[in-house]
Symmetry: C2
Subunit: 136 residues, 2 copies
DNA sequence: ATTCGTGCAAAGGGTTTGCATTGTT
DNA sequence: AACAATGCAAACCCTTTGCACGAAT
């Protein structure tokens, strides 16, 4: 059967995730874990995070061309607002999501994670000029 | 001011998006557009898609390590179910999203796109074994 | 003792970007 | 004529992977 070993690396990554209230990416987590476990590699961090996501312990927030951000899944069911410009991620308390019409899901679809994401522009970024094309 | 030029490339990409009911990635769109405009480059496809997303004409579905999928935004407000294993994307009709508590958003946050995504496993993938770690 | 997990480093793949050129306005 | 958009190809960055070694069970 599946043997998930309780390694120091796994514990350390989980601990960092647990005690972090921001939404860090793998590199940030790697640096943080290094403080307790200097020799841990980035590859192991990725592998551990993958496992945590598979196990439902963590969820991801993904943006094209950006590093995946990880979020420890607490009992509160919160969701996210994501700033398109600066990438800031805000937690939003939403309790109504379970009411959403899952009946519309394709037959037999097994839901592992419901994501409600508001994408847009945070207050601080609304006045900033577009980080536009080649011209600059 | 913003000068969005109406180039052949832009029209062709838009046309492909408009007439495609699946959720293609940039490479697929590139190949499709090539049939009408053989010389178009992948870079231009990316730039055009970015612009269409900025303009709200298209939306993205993003998965870590996977190519971004694009979806032409029709008037119906549908959302997506994403299979974690095979990457299949299913459309879901959901009309209740506007009722969701935007009041919980951070002050001044300007919403450009509301995404409701059900991540999990489609029927066809539920029996498949895990594509697990290094061991195979 | 077994075998999964790790570290390392290279490879992989999607996306972006600089620059000269083309083509819209 | 002006300058945004394109094509090309290299660069970027995040993520994955092969392999030999180390460590948990």
């Amino acid at each position: 059967m599946t043997m998930v070993r309780n390694t120091r690396q796994r514990q350390a990554v989980l601990e960092v995730l647990r005690t972090t209230r921001t939404h860090p990416d793998a590199a940030w987590i790697h640096q943080a874990v290094r403080q307790a476990l200097p020799s841990i590699s980035l590859g192991t961090v990725y592998r551990t995070l993958d496992a945590l996501v598979r196990d439902g312990v963590a969820v991801t927030i993904e943006r094209a061309g950006q590093a995946t951000r990880y979020d420890f899944r607490r009992d509160d069911h919160h969701h996210h607002a994501v700033c398109r410009r600066c990438g800031a991620i805000f937690d939003i308390e939403v309790r109504d999501v379970p009411q959403l019409p899952r009946s519309a899901l394709p037959g037999g679809f097994q839901v592992a994670d419901v994501r409600l994401e508001f994408h847009g522009f945070c207050l601080a970024c609304q006045d900033k000029p577009e980080p536009s094309g080649p011209g600059g």
